[in-house]
Amino acid sequence: MSNELIDFVIVSVALLAIGIYGLSVKRNFIRMLFAVEIVINAANLNLVAFARFLPHSGGQTFALFSIAIAAAEVAVGLALIIVAYRMYKNIDVADFRSLKG
């Protein structure tokens, strides 16, 4: 293989940092969901890269589990966005103050 493990890990670190930036700066609910997706994909890339270089099938198996659970998370997240939009007529998380306990 011409690429090394560290190349994939560096891309993964860059994606994780971009996702953290999105989560900390953006106030739009949908963009925050984009950032969460980017972070999850960075983690999946790490799992598959380590599974290839060690080599062990566990990484790929857990990546598949992670993709399936992320699909469930997005379905619930988007449903919450629709409900919040119906209640507040906005998708800005700063407006969802009454969700606090």
């Binding site: 949908i30 659970i69 469930a72």
Partner: protein
């Protein structure tokens, strides 16, 4: 040594991830996110994991991206283009991003994983199947239940409670 294909996919993935967060329109942002997810699928193919790559394309690029685009289209037009951001918060976010990148990068470079290379063949599909059905079958069942529960929950959450319709039904 990285090859040009890896470099191309890396640039596509990172640039479209930034575009997904920074583009003014949420619709274009969603399309850029599809680019990131597709780029990750490309990495999976480079890592000799075509099964995970196809799963990624089917689940993420196929269904999640379409779900996100439909949700964006259900939102009012002005909100799609609205971009309220605090400048201080933005700089703080960029600072946090750089700190995470530099600190994790330093840990990665000093960890010794740069010396890990492999000449061994890729993992077979059979091993993944064995993992799923022999070692992790309780987790597979739990995942199926979680998926079914979350989809049902999402449908119940998003259902419109129309009072007029309820009254008509009782009549």
């Amino acid at each position: 040594m990285v090859d040009s294909l890896f470099l191309g996919i890396a640039v596509l993935t990172i640039v479209s991830a930034i575009a997904a967060l920074e583009m003014r329109s949420l619709v274009y942002g969603g399309i850029a996110l599809m680019g990131t997810l597709g780029g990750i699928a490309g990495f999976f193919i480079l890592l000799d994991s075509p099964f995970v790559a196809l799963f990624q394309i089917a689940v993420y690029v196929g269904s999640i991206a379409v779900l996100i685009l439909f949700t964006i289209m259900l939102v009012k037009r002005e909100l799609i283009f609205q971009k309220k951001e605090d400048t201080k918060r933005r700089y703080a976010g960029i600072g946090l991003m750089l700190i995470v990148m530099i600190s994790l990068g330093a840990i990665v470079f000093n960890s010794g994983i740069s010396s890990i290379t492999t000449e061994e063949p890729a993992v077979d599909y059979r091993e993944i199947g064995e993992d799923f059905l022999i070692y992790y079958w309780p987790a597979l069942v739990a995942m199926a239940l979680v998926l079914a529960g979350s989809v049902t929950g999402a449908m119940i959450l998003a259902r419109r409670h129309d009072e007029v319709e309820d009254e008509q039904r009782t009549d």
